[in-house]
Symmetry: none
Subunit: 210 residues, 4 copies
DNA sequence: CATGAATGAGACTTCATTCAT
DNA sequence: CATGAATGAAGTCTCATTCAT
């Protein structure tokens, strides 16, 4: 199709392809992104893709793994060392919001995470694991705060982590759904105020019921 | 899902079909559910489906509308009249959890809500509107609490509603992702304690130091 | 679908339907006109059409027969009695042009006449017969002219009729193809001048040098 | 139609396919020719057709373009240089009759040309353009005759071209409609006698009225 | 007479995937 | 490594037609 001298667009095979692929996936959705589209975006033919990846699914998997790794790195990298647990929780939320608003990749990942639940077992497992690690990371921070004494000790760090993860993700989704009018930052900040306030309140004596 | 004894032929045309359809969609996902599959499940031929619905998309739309209406009804019906704002918020969450755990329809709806964002403009709009109504409903309850004096007046009822909606939805998604090991009820209850506690604290009458 | 009191649109079944049908056919073409479309245009349901006509094809056949009859009537009615053969030929052309430019029915008929050739044997036969009658009619006029002595006797009236029929039809088609810029009237008039001139020239009584 | 020995697999992709396709179209009509039929005739699968052509329509378009080009080539090739304008007009008619009687492709083209008018805008435009070129070609020949002095100068070369094109096409259609009994050659020859005679008659003084 | 529901066959089209060169 | 050509299965949709009520 391309005659004569076409500047070879790719140099390191797989890696470049996953980047291009996730771009396409993020723009059109997984199903609606045909191999042909990715191939075209990469300046290759479909056959070439199959040299690098057994499957469309494997391509997706690789692409998602890439992004996930990047995300996890950017969370842990910027947080450590978490001198102050409260501040750390705010930092993590900031990183999430950053990702959420700066490109559509994060949005695709979240979308896919939900989609994959009943669609792609292998991917679902990967996401499950990622969320598991994420919540584990949060839990550690909360436990740290508890050990430090800045966080109350009468709450399950584990459940608290779940609440946090859910609140941030739920806010994100509302934002994706309606970016024009949903105030993502305000919502998350309000949540953080309330959440961190709750964790820091030190009334072991005052039992919460139910 | 199909109630009791279905007499080989459908009687309520569209209505029955949307029920059957959403069952299939919920089990296999939208894309993976072929018209043929729905037709078979309904004991009809493909053509019959197209007699009732112009499109696969319209069938989805109708099916989703049905469910949404049902959900909204079950929320408003069981809540009104909301004598006590705090209790009302807990009730709503209970209804959501109920739907979330009793059938896969709700799960499908939530999944689809995310999927549709970049996939189906008309549906996305419907979900946007539904979420809008839902948050509006929550906001009214919160404002009621504020007027009653049981909720603090120094927070934006609107943002508070967003926080609530996000936290519940985020928890649900984590549960859908990992129903075996994610403690949905615990997470939501913990959130509610903290959230309602936050709303009830600090209102004029009740002095608070620090 | 139609509730309560709908003003019965049709009174004499078949006849009304053929009129409506040919309107649709002329607008969208035969294949592209579904029974549903005709039914809707008639304010009926598909089933009702099948009460009156065995087939879509029969409906077309009946509709075409109607039009053809009308056309033939309008040709013979306005021509008779053909005092002057030359003038009669001009009259006939005028009638054709009239039909050609005043509605899209004639255009549909011509289109269909060509289409039907390899598509619909029964219809093709009907058109063949119609053209046969038309050419026969022309031939008679020419023979009349020959007997009268106003037309030359050394040409086959039959072939002359064929030439005439073809020239008019060919002009029409060019016009249908490009109504904006094809000068139908001019073309046919020029043809008639030349054709009638040819028929009138050289006949025995009327000496002609060179 | 496919020349000589086709080695089980096609070699010239598109070109071969257009040939096979037009064969099918000419035999069964456009609508009645399914992609499956063409694929089978080509010894390929449906998918292969879609590799080469985006659409059934594009396949038709390509096939028609091919034929049209061939026709135009065979007209211009065999005519040039038109030493004698009168003879050239007879030659062109001969080429048309040749095409008309030797294969059903020409017949299909003419049929389609009429069908396409209200059915396929792009194709209609192509036919319009072709007819435009054809009439232009004829006009030039007539003008040549006029400059040479062998044709009378008091007629519009343009309208004369239209008359010629229509008469030949109209004769053809009558022939297609009834090949057994319609005398195509006789009709066209009679027309040519009369037409060329008319053009050659040099009476500027003898005005034709209306 | 007419309707509404349903059928069934077939059409077009898409796409992941394969493979010889 | 890469391409171009091809496959084959599946999917969505259309439509003439039938029939019980």
């Amino acid at each position: 199709m391309a005659d004569a001298a076409r500047p070879a667009r790719l140099e390191n095979g797989r890696r470049d392809l996953t980047n291009i692929a996730i771009d396409c996936f993020a723009r059109y959705g997984y199903k609606a992104t045909s191999i042909a589209r990715i191939a075209e975006a990469a300046g290759l033919t479909k056959g070439a893709i199959y040299y690098h990846f057994r499957d469309k699914e494997e391509l997706l998997f690789a692409a998602v793994s890439d992004r996930l790794t990047q995300f996890e790195r950017s969370v842990t990298a910027q947080i450590l060392p978490p001198a102050d647990a409260g501040r750390a929780l705010r930092e993590i939320a900031r990183v999430c919001l950053d990702h959420a608003t700066k490109s559509n990749h994060r949005r695709f990942i979240v979308t896919l995470m939900v989609e994959a639940i009943d669609t792609n077992a292998r991917l679902a497992e990967q996401f499950r694991a990622m969320m598991h690690r994420f919540r584990g990371f949060l839990r550690e921070i909360i436990e740290l705060g508890q050990r430090e004494g800045s966080f109350r000790g009468d709450v399950s760090a584990s459940v608290a982590a779940d609440v946090y993860a859910g609140a941030v993700m739920g806010a994100e989704i509302q934002y994706y759904q309606d970016p024009e009018s949903f105030d993502l930052e305000g919502t998350v900040n309000t949540f953080l105020d309330q959440y961190v306030g709750w964790l820091q309140r030190d009334h072991p004596q005052r039992a919460e019921r139910r």
